[in-house]
Amino acid sequence: MRELIHVSDQGILVYFLALNSFYAVLMILSIPEIWEQTRLADDDDFQRIMQSDALPPITLLVPAYNESATVVASVTALLTLEYRNFEVIVVNDGSRDDTLDRLRAAFDLFEAPRTYPETIPTRPLRALYRSRARTRLLVVDKENGGKADSLNAAINASRFPLVIAVDADTLIEPDAMLRLTRPFLLGRHIAAVGGTVRVANSCTVEHGRVTDARVPRRFLPGVQVVEYLRAFLFGRLGWNRLGGNLIISGAFGLFRKDYLLAIGGYRTESVVEDMDVVVRLHRHLLRHRIPYEMPFIPDPVAWTEVPEVGRFLARQRERWHRGLLSAMWQYKGMLFNPRYGRVGLIGVPFYTFGEALAPLVEVLGYVITVVGFALGIVNVQFALLFVLVAWGYGMLLSIWAVVLEEVSFRRYGRVGDLARLLLFATLENFGYRQRTVWWRLKAFLTVWQQRQVWGEMTRKGFEAAKGQTGRRVDG
């Protein structure tokens, strides 16, 4: 027993060192990336060229299911984005509420014939609507088939070579589309581009735009601000230098349509369609030796509302982790496979061992420590020191993300917001992190039971319904 605990201890220590060393590498790699990106983002000439009339035309794909409360405001905000040539395709995915009626009334929709082939098979379409008031808008009404199916229907209907998948409840900054096209201007072989998703809770929202960014006072949404900063500002920036990201957020990401069509669009069986599609894109492009990049750029920003209640957050995290597990299992052939280059040798192994299996290892560590205490074979001082180092490292990474935010984009200008960011970065490791481990652990159980149930989330909505021009989400 002692031997077993000893060996497990050593194994966990090695895992801890390897994983955290890798995080350190990501942290270091994020420095030159943010340096370059902020310089390009500030370049006035680039702003000027991005407003020229030859920007690549883009289709915004907006799946909507029971979005009656917010759909008109969201679509209006999307239609007024700063971009010359784009169209918005809203897919009403068999909503049970009056989503379609609201769209019809607000945008003077009329039924139009379908004039494109069904390149990717989807659930049957009911009708296609164009708008007399806004020629950029196309509404596809179809039977319910889930988000991936809706995105596929929108891809079929899109006219343009680039598509951006957007959640109907996501607030996109007016110049975010312009900024997202920046890698194309740099003449690179772009397959997809990811932008930053930030937390909208507590921010002031006016006419579908975040006008004042704030860090929530409440713990759960506040700590998620730090999590999002960490995930986007150094995690994904670091991956830019390691062969590209395996995740481009489903709430805001740009793709080349011909590549999406080549892989058959989004997979409807997938729990997290955004990760699934990116991994398949990597696989397809690497298999066919097509030169490509999938960069993340930090300055195009979309804002999303995150769960404020533990129950909903638990479901979200469980689903995310379930999706990660199934994706890693699905594409296990890429693991350590030199045919897939850095993606197969670094990306997939990291997401498999460093992300997917991390909750198991962490819990194993806690169990062994407790058993070791009970048997008196674990040195108390050593165990406490180890936990201290682990937590300290977590804090270091979170605060590093805050540093990157401070030296680059500085969306949170008030001292109070900065203080809250630092506070949440510190407190995150005491209780919250353990809860997320538990939620992610539950995903293993769900996968084991082969359940694929989508969690539901009650959204508060961004703007007040009483005719005010703006308000804070958390009141």
Binding site: D45, S52, A54, L55, A133, L186, Q381, G392, L418
Partner: protein, 353 residues
């Protein structure tokens, strides 16, 4: 060293790093505030000096003095901003004065820097303050591997007339990404006579894969001297070239253009037909009205749409044909006529754009 010692060292290092990061955040904020407090008054002073100089109540030396007091990026920003406000002749005087100023020499020297952002700064500076003597330097920057640098450098064409610069930019234009190419096109339009001469030669290279982009650029110039050559390209085997040529000759209400467009309206490729019908609408010759009406029966929805929109440009006769189609027996023209007649003015303008 035991494991405990190792962890103690790691914990200590972490503690120091955490403290350092927090100090860094605080210092960063403090430094920015302090810098803003220091620089902001200097920016105001520069703007004030620029304004007085632009009005002729101050000499150029006061502007140069204040420019040198600012950090280089801010000074270049200010120059870029003021370059569009000050009349050309007066601005040239400032550019000439900057030629010999020590501060400007430092900025110019960065054109050979290994760091792209420093070369970018030089390119931005030269875009507004270059003199003919800077041509070799700008040529180097135009050939810079970093897109941000050569994009900034091409803006020099707005102020410096140089055959060498124009030739390099025009040769580069069709091989650039679409958006960058369009930006180059905007800059090249300033050197119109020279560009037209060069284009007449380049449009004869019919096997050049870059031809569609060149024709697209030529179309934007609306230059009558190019009409004949562009009309000849409507018979090119590449449909993309034909689309661009059809677009280009839509700006020339000439019998040759109408004859070519009439032929293209029956092209096997639907994008060519759609563009031909659109261009016929732009010319709006009443003799082509029956042809445009017939395009309402095209099997391709987009051609029908372009035909419907083109009919609105023929005035009352076109509208009458749309109204007839709206109550006609054929489903395709009827649906399209309903759609077009139901469009708001804003929607029509959006389609026309």
């Amino acid at each position: 060293m035991t494991g405990r010692h190792f962890l103690t060292v790691v914990a200590l290092v972490q503690g120091v790093l955490l403290a350092a990061l927090i100090v860094l955040i605080i210092l960063n904020r403090w430094f920015r505030l302090r810098r803003r407090a220091q620089v902001h008054p200097r920016v105001i002073q520069l703007n004030d000096a620029m304004q007085r100089w632009a009005l002729g109540t101050a000499d150029v030396a006061s502007v140069l003095l204040r420019l040198a007091r600012l950090p280089v990026p801010l000074a270049v920003d200010a120059l870029v901003m003021w370059s569009v406000r000050v009349p050309g002749d007066r601005w040239r005087k400032l550019a000439t004065a900057l030629r010999y100023h020590w501060w400007a020499r430092l900025v110019r020297a960065n054109s050979d820097s290994a760091r792209w952002w420093q070369r970018l700064q030089t390119a931005r500076f030269l875009a507004v303050a270059a003199t003919p003597e800077d041509t070799p330097r700008v040529l180097r920057l135009l050939r810079d591997p970093h897109p941000a640098v050569h994009i900034a450098a091409v803006a020099t064409l707005e102020r410096v007339e140089s055959a060498a610069l124009t030739t390099v930019a025009l040769e580069r234009l069709p091989r650039l990404a679409a958006t960058v190419s369009a930006y180059y096109a905007g800059m090249l339009r300033r050197s119109r006579p020279l560009v037209v001469q060069l284009l007449l030669k380049m449009l004869r290279r019919t096997d050049d894969p870059a031809l569609p982009r060149l024709v697209e650029f030529a179309a934007r110039l609306n230059e009558p001297a190019l009409r004949e050559r562009l009309t000849a390209l409507t018979g090119h085997p590449d449909p993309e070239v034909r689309v661009q040529a059809a677009r280009a000759i839509g700006s020339f209400p000439h019998t040759d253009s109408i004859a070519a467009l009439t032929r293209l309206a029956a092209d096997p490729a639907w994008p060519v037909r759609a563009q031909a019908v659109r261009s016929l609408g732009m010319i709006a010759d009443p003799a082509t009205l029956p042809l445009v009406r017939d395009a309402l029966h095209d099997p391709e929805w987009w051609v029908r749409l372009r035909a419907g929109l083109a009919l609105t440009r023929f005035g009352a006769p076109g509208r009458k044909l749309l109204l007839e189609a709206e109550v006609g027996g054929a489903a395709g023209p009827r649906d399209m006529a309903r759609l077009v007649l139901g469009l708001s003015t804003q929607a029509l303008a959006e389609y026309a754009a």
